[in-house]
Structure formats: C-alpha cells, structure tokens
C-alpha cells in the first residue's frame, strides 16, 4: 500500500510502481504560472482525488495528464509526466493514442448530439478497435453496463443522447470513455452539474470502476473525496500542499492549510 513517508510540505510522494507520475511540473498560461513544481504519483487501480480552492490549478493539472493543454494556445509546460514510466511529453508519443489510453470525463456532461449508440461507439470506431458490427454492439453494451446505464437506455439506443437527463448524460460520457478501454480515467468535477441522486449514482459507479481502471477525480466536495478516493492531493495556489491516503488527509492533515480547507475555514 502506498505510504507518504516524507514531509507533506515538500510534497514528495513516493509510491511503489505508480501508474502515472508528475515530476517538477511547471505550467504557464502565457506569462502566468498556474502550476509550481508539482510532484504527484497516481497509484494503479485506485481513485486519487484532487481537492483545493477553485482556481488553484486542479483542472490544469488534470489536463496535463492527457495533454489536453496542448489544445490551448500559449501554454508552456516543463517538467515530466509519465505513464508506465514513459514520459508522455516525449516526441515519440502519439497524442491520439495517449488520449485513448487516458480517458477524460468533463465537468459538464458533453454528449455528442447524436444517438446514444453513436456516442458510445464513436471511440472504438475511430481507433479501429472492432472488426464487425457485432463486436461494436458488444462494446457498446458492456460499456453502458459498466457505466450502470444499460438498464435505463437499452430500449432507446438510437434516440438522441441529448434527450437524457443530466445524470444519465454524465454516465453516458463515462461509458463513452470506458468504451475505448482506457487505463486511466480523468474526471474533472464530474458531479458538479448533477443533483444529489445522480451524484450518488456516479460515485457508486466510480467505486466500481476502480477495480478495472486508475481514476483521478477533481472534486470540490470534501465528502465526495472522502467517499470515493483512496488517495487525496490538496492543491493550493498551483502547488501540491499535501498528498496522502484519504483517511490520513481527512483525519490527520499535516499542513495547516489543508486543515483549514477541509474544516471549511476557507475555500
């Protein structure tokens, strides 16, 4: 099991064989630095929660992990992010393949304005993961099943995805990400646009997905972080202030700022 050995202030995590790592990661939006020397390890088949006041760089960091920041103009990154010990910013890495291996779920559900079936089948189709219509059908079904959505939509696969409720749309987005069999799934506040019942469903789903996928979730809800994650990293002003097992962070934070944030004194 992962253990934080060193002082949280230096945010120097040491985890045996992490799935992903960030080392001395600095990121600039033009002149403005948004991330400062971020060091973080992501453990395989665990849920890592990123918490911190808004604007502290959680989403920015998350986007570094599948190179979505590449699509933003004027971003400069230095430092290292690895997936299975390979630098994902290496020239030899194909971004398209990388994003297939590291899926992403966004804050606002963003299904394509197409049918439910087409949404889920889109990833496998463009990556050439299937050879026949039957295989595709199967991927769509298992993905929807994994996202806990199959029962609700199996009779309306050809209907537009935009007709689903917000919570269903978000689970569809998870199914869509799952359909390309990613190793890591990044989620940026996936429940912030959902009502409590839909949120509970998504949280349940995240817990189930953990057995197959490595998950990094950004959340502004302390309770959610406590409920779904095994590890938690606290960000503040672009720095990782403290990272450790979720239990430890919530019961016995080492840093004053962490303590202040989780007890709701600021944020």
């Amino acid at each position: 099991m992962a253990v934080v050995t060193q002082s949280a202030m230096t945010a120097e995590p040491s985890v045996t064989s992490p799935k992903m790592t960030a080392r001395d990661l600095n990121l600039f939006y033009g002149e403005n630095q948004a991330l400062f020397d971020v060091n973080l390890d992501i453990v395989e088949r665990q849920v890592t929660a990123l918490i911190g006041p808004s604007g502290c760089g959680k989403s920015t960091f998350l986007r570094c992990m599948n190179r979505m920041n590449d699509t933003i103009d004027g971003v400069t990154i230095n430092g290292q992010v690895t997936l299975d010990n390979r630098d994902i910013y290496d020239k030899a890495i194909d971004v398209v393949q990388l994003r297939a291996r590291i899926g992403m779920v966004f804050q606002k559900p963003n299904p394509f304005p197409k049918s439910i079936y087409d949404n889920v089948s889109y990833g496998p189709r463009i990556h050439g993961l299937v050879n026949s219509r039957d295989e595709l059908d199967e991927i769509v079904m298992t993905s929807l099943e994994r996202a806990g959505l199959l029962k609700e939509v199996k009779d309306r696969l050809q209907e537009p995805a935009t007709g689903l409720s917000g919570g269903q749309q978000q689970r569809l987005c998870i199914a869509r990400a799952v359909a390309v069999s990613p190793e890591v799934i990044l989620m940026d506040e996936p429940c912030s646009a959902l009502d409590p019942i839909a949120t509970a469903k998504v949280e349940e789903l995240i817990d189930e997905l953990r057995s197959n996928y490595t998950i990094v979730i950004v959340t502004h809800s302390m309770q959610q972080a406590a409920r779904v994650s095994q590890r938690t990293a606290f960000f503040h002003l672009g720095k990782v202030v403290e990272v450790g097992e979720t239990d430890q962070i919530f019961t016995n934070p080492k840093d004053e700022r962490t303590k202040g944030y989780i007890t709701g004194r600021f944020g």
Binding site: N66, M68, T71, D73, V96, Q97, L98, R99, A100, G103, M104, F106, K108, N110, P111, F112, P113, K114, Y122, G123, I126, H127, P160, T162, C173, R176, A177, V180, H236, L237, E256, R257, G260, R265, F266
Partner: protein, 449 residues
Amino acid sequence: MTDMASLMEDRAAAKVISGNLRKPVDWDSPKISRQIKKRYAAERRFKMYGLSAIAIALLALAVLTYSIGSKGYTAFFQTYVQVEVFFDPAQIDPDGTGDPAVIGKANFDGLIKESLRKRFPEVTDRRSKRDMYDIISGGASYDLRERVMENPSLIGQTRKVWMISGDDFDMLNKGYISADVDEGDRRLNDEEISWYHALQADGAVEKQFHTRFFTNGDSREPELAGIWGAAVGSLYTLAVTLALSFPIGVLAAVYLEEFAPRNRFTTIVEVNINNLAAVPSIVFGLLGLEVYLNVMHLPRSAPVVGGLTLALMTLPTIIIAARAAIKAVPPSIRQAALGLGASPVQTVTHHVLPLAMPGILTGTIIGMAQALGETAPLLMIGMVAFIVDIPGSALDPATVLPVQIYLWADSPERAFVEKTSAAIMVLLGFLVLMNGFAVYLRKKFERKW
C-alpha cells in the same frame, strides 16, 4: 499563513457590505409605483416600435410585390390573332415532293402576308400594307413551318390558325395603348386600331399563356424574347461560383478557426477577408476582366468567367458565415472528441463541421443569392452582350437574369416594360426557391444540444 489570513479578511469584508444592504424597502411607496408605471409604459412603447417596424417592412414588401406583379403579370400572356391561311401548294411545295427539306425552305412569311391581304383586301397602299403585316409577329412563320412539317397533309387546305401577334398589337390588346391619345403621339395609327377592332369583332383576338417567354432566349422582338437563355446562363454561372467558393470558403474558415496559429499573419489575413466582403462588386469585375480575360484569355461573356468572378465576390461572405457557424459549435464538443483520442481533423470532420453545416449553408445560400442578383461585375466581363441562343455549356456566351433585366429595362419598346417586371418576378422566384432550399437544408441538418 498569510494567504489564509487574507482569505479570512475577505470574508469579514463581505459580511460588512451585506450588512449595509439590509435596509427596509417600502414596496408600496409612490416613488416605486411611479417607477412601475414608467416601466410598463416603456415596455408598451418598445412593443409599439417593434410592431411599427414590422408594419413598415411588410408595407414596403407589399408595395414592391404589387408594383412588380401588376406591371409584370401581363407578360405571362400574349395576344394571338386568328387568320385564315391557305396552305398554298404552289408556295410551299411546288413540285409536290413532300420532301421536308423543301417544305422547310418555303416562304411561310409570304403565306402569312397573303392571308392578311385576303383578310383586309381594302388595304392597298404600300405603307399601310407594311403596317398591316406588323399585326402578326415575324416569329409566327416559324410556328407555321413547324405545323406544316409535322402535318404535311395541311398543304392545299385552308385553315384558321392562331398566330402570335406583333408587340404593338399586343400592347394595344392589353390596354397599354390608348386610342384617346392624339394619333401622332401613339405607336399605332387610327387605321391599325380599326383593324384591331375588326379582328376583335370576329373573335379573332385572344390572349394565351405565353410559354415562349419561359423557353426562348433574348430577341429584338419583344413578343419573341424569353427568359430561358438568361436563366440557363445564371444557372451555369452560379454552378461555377458554388463549385469554387463553397469548398474554398469552408476550408479557409475551418483552417482559420481550428488550425491557424494566433499570430500577426493570421490576424492580417482575417482583417483582409473581412474587408474584402465590403469591396464594391464592380472592383471584382475589373479584376476578373484583367485576370481571366486579358491574362488567362478565357472566353468573353462566358458563364465560367462570370462564375469565377462572382466566386471571388462570394468567398468572403461564405468564409465569414462559416467561421461564425464554426465558432458557435460549443467547445465542449471538441473537448469530448479530443478527449476520446480523435485527431484534430477527425474532430472537425466528424463533429464540428456537421454541427456548423446549417449555418454554413445559410451563409452560402445568402452568398449565392447575392451572386444571382449581381450585375456590375458581369458587365465588366462582357456578359451584357445580346445573346439569342440558349447556352449549351458554361463556355458558351451567355447572359444572366439581372443583366437581362437591365438590358430589357433599357430597351425602347413599350412591350419590354412588362417583360422587365416579369423577369424580375422570375428572378425573385429563383431567390425564393433558393431560400426555401436553405430552410430545407437547415431543417435537415439541424441538431439540438
């Protein structure tokens, strides 16, 4: 922790401000009820402004439609005169060969003149005879020939035949020439008017639907002039315009919106495209004249050149509309596709373009409608020539609808006035069709999100 302390201070400050806001409000005070009244009045006024704006627009439309329609609808009908024709074998086929080549060469004009002389034997004066021949259009002999070629057994018989009348006679029948005007001031003298009355008394004058107007090319004779040549010219021209400006415009817009790096060069290109949209169209005509005719030596008056020139003019419109439509596609859709590992090109072709298509098509059709109505640049490249033949390809000399309207509006004959209005109606009809098509495409591609 200094930043924590500052956070706490901010909170305290916020509390003070919200404390100050908590003043009791008397919602029933006269001042507030005055305000409410004023607001209602303002809303009513605003609604009135809106309604009167719409009323003015509708009135303008009604006046336009009425003035064009009332002047032009008569052009869809044409006066025909019935005359007894003796299909004289001596004239048509003197040797009785029955050979179509011989029949085709016969002097049918002479037959018609002979028939008119028979109908009005009292006319002997040479000048009066010439006037009398004008009752029937020069084009009637072609009809007559066709009739005989189709049915050679007519030769030797006497038949009553409806023949297309000359333009002045047509104008008289439609009431555009008044007998009350002093004889010297009208195009028909008293004698000619008396022939009209005589024919009418026989029941030998009637108006028929004027199919020729829709099937003929231009002509010096108003009664033979049709819109089809110009319509076909417009079709070829627009086809060339569309084939060039749509793909180039869409690709340029996609590149500028989705791929171009944000730098000085891109900005300069963007500014120039926006400025091009405001360049007077005649300038494009000059450019077309210089580049396509003088340098590239493409055929004059041809729809290809017209299309190439109009494409230059339409491009900025399409690029601007397409960019706006692409910009309106929510970024979340691009993120979703990119996040799944779609390449930028896949993201554009699979998601952004289909979603932007309704807007792009609307812009394109607006651009095409502009091109359809454009005259000035086409005058520069010689599409203003008088062309009788229907163009068979985009390389044949042709004219287009608005230029045809311009040419007819410029013609002295009274009969061209109604033709002008009728041609405008045809042009407007095309525009309505195009807009209908745009609406249909928009509906077809429309998606909600």
